[in-house]
Symmetry: C2
Subunit: 330 residues, 2 copies
């Protein structure tokens, strides 16, 4: 392969390969090798940093827009790393011809989301490129957070731990697809796009071993990363996966696997048996966690694998996302 193809942006196997074979190869250091959603930096006050660009199409979708997404995505990467999100930077690349009214709507949405989450935008940058050299607007947000009391990460995952998700899966992916393709559902699907820092504050406690937000590549790809990094297997129960009926319908109709659909307001939590009930109760008490569920367990056998137990008792391997699935989802 000698050129970038869309699948390099899927969040799946080719994305991982690109990062390994070009970026890690030349840039590898102890920070990048942490391979987490956010990187911890040394210093008297331990801080976490993360960066993310947003290229979603369409810019406005049911439940959000690229501005809301850009604020939530970076806040969530910090929050799932066990950091309290503190500051965001905002850099936009604008295409010549973008409507100023659209830009203003997006900036208003950024302001509202940043205020709701309590994380201010502290610096910014604006670039403009000729018509045809970008797709309306691309946004980068970089976030800084401060360490909370207990550390989390794939290295703390233990056999016997439970796997929780804070609500229904695949909503963002299907909402984008519906807006893009003009699909209509009886009950419309709304993107779950939301800042998770307050929800996580609510249930964060000792016994939580790892958290991740299953965005690009979905729950399936994210759990594959955790199984590999934590050297464990993860057994999911298909019937426990919380699924909005319209998402289930869309997946059946279009042949999509909900485990690979993007989420923008959900957190996966790996938690020790003694804490699982309290974490689940606290999650469900928060508006963003009402449909939280235990969806699986961690085992020692077959390290690196994610397995799905079907209602009939069968088991199948859930691999990393292959190919491109849905592009420009975030």
């Amino acid at each position: 392969m000698e050129r970038i193809i869309m699948a390099h942006g899927s969040g799946g196997r080719l994305s991982h390969q690109l990062v390994q074979e070009i970026f890690q190869k030349h840039l590898s250091n102890s920070y990048l090798n942490q391979m987490n959603d956010a990187t911890w930096l040394p210093g008297s006050e331990k801080i976490a940093i993360t960066t993310d660009s947003f290229v979603v199409s369409p810019l406005f979708f049911r439940g959000g827009d690229i501005g809301k997404l850009a604020v939530c995505g970076t806040i969530n990467d910090l929050a799932v790393s066990g950091a309290q999100p503190r500051y965001l930077t905002l850099a936009v690349i604008l295409e010549e011809g973008l409507l100023l009214a659209d830009l203003e709507k997006i900036v208003q949405s950024i302001a509202a989301t940043s205020q709701m989450a309590g994380v201010p935008i502290v610096c910014g940058d604006t670039k403009v490129v000729e018509r045809g050299s970008a797709d309306k607007i691309f946004i980068n947000t970089t976030g800084i957070g401060a360490l909370k009391e207990c550390a989390v990460g794939p290295q703390y995952i233990r056999p016997g731990d439970y796997v929780l998700i804070s609500g229904t899966i695949g909503d963002h992916g299907v909402a984008i697809l519906a807006d893009r393709e003009g699909l209509e559902f009886e009950t419309p699907v709304t993107s779950d796009c939301a800042p998770l820092n307050h929800l996580i504050d609510e249930f964060y406690m000792p016994g939580i071993h790892c958290m991740r937000d299953p965005t690009r590549g979905g729950v399936g790809t994210t759990l594959n990363e955790l199984a590999k990094q934590g050297r464990v297997s993860i057994i999911l129960e298909e019937e426990k996966l919380p699924l909005h009926p319209s998402v289930a319908g869309a997946c059946g109709m279009l042949g999509l696997e909900p485990l690979y659909l993007a989420n923008e307001g959900k957190v996966l939590v790996i938690v020790a048996p003694e804490a699982v009930d309290e974490v689940l109760t606290r999650m469900r008490n928060h508006p963003l966690g009402q449909e939280a569920a235990i969806i699986g367990r961690v085992e020692a056998a077959d390290p690196g694998l994610v397995l799905l137990k079907t209602p009939l008792g069968g088991k199948r391997i859930v691999g990393m996302l292959e190919g491109e699935h849905l592009p420009r989802i975030c």
Copy 2:
């Protein structure tokens, strides 16, 4: 005006208006209101943060490439703010079809520049968009730095201060233009793209009141910002401006004003009279400051204005850059 036009990206008057009327209007807070190259954050260890996207065309030019530019640009924004650059983040947007060999060359250049400057890349992000939705590659770098011993900023500028520049002006702008238009000069112009943190370490001392790197919009626009923010006027002497002969030639031939051409490895320093000689000597002792020069002085009259004294004794006002000048210069 209801749409984004190229001049919104010039770094000149329309860029400032866009920032004021859309971004500041909705996002204004005490951090953004610092209006500096980097923002200082509170905390036990005082840190500075800055973000910048790079959209230069062509990707490879004499003296550098988009990767080197992305590392230098953000390091320089920190260094001129009086911070010691510590960490960089790296987020790339790739266009489907980009040659992997080109990507690897860019990443190698990022690695080499980051190593030379002693500032590691600590986290990253990769997105891919369809062919025609971006121009090959866009790069965002965000940087974090730690406060050095003395504070600098436009509020410290005093009448009587001297204005220094660390070397020739307009080299980057002309190098890009030459590569883009296939112009040939007797002595080729090379971009000055370089990380300035080590140069600044060399001459940084009490008596330095303000530093800026005159990138997009050039020396003219940058000094206009300082004159307005510092409520002073700045009188430049045209014959003191260090100018590469080929840059002077290109400007004459093409009707370009060197004061508005981008620089990517130069620093403007506003310094008290008692320190000016030592700062200039130290600058000239560093390989990146050999052609440093005193180019003007600060006065109390006409606050907000930048004036250019011509060799014949005339004075003309140097305004902010109007219109788009050269697009996609950084």
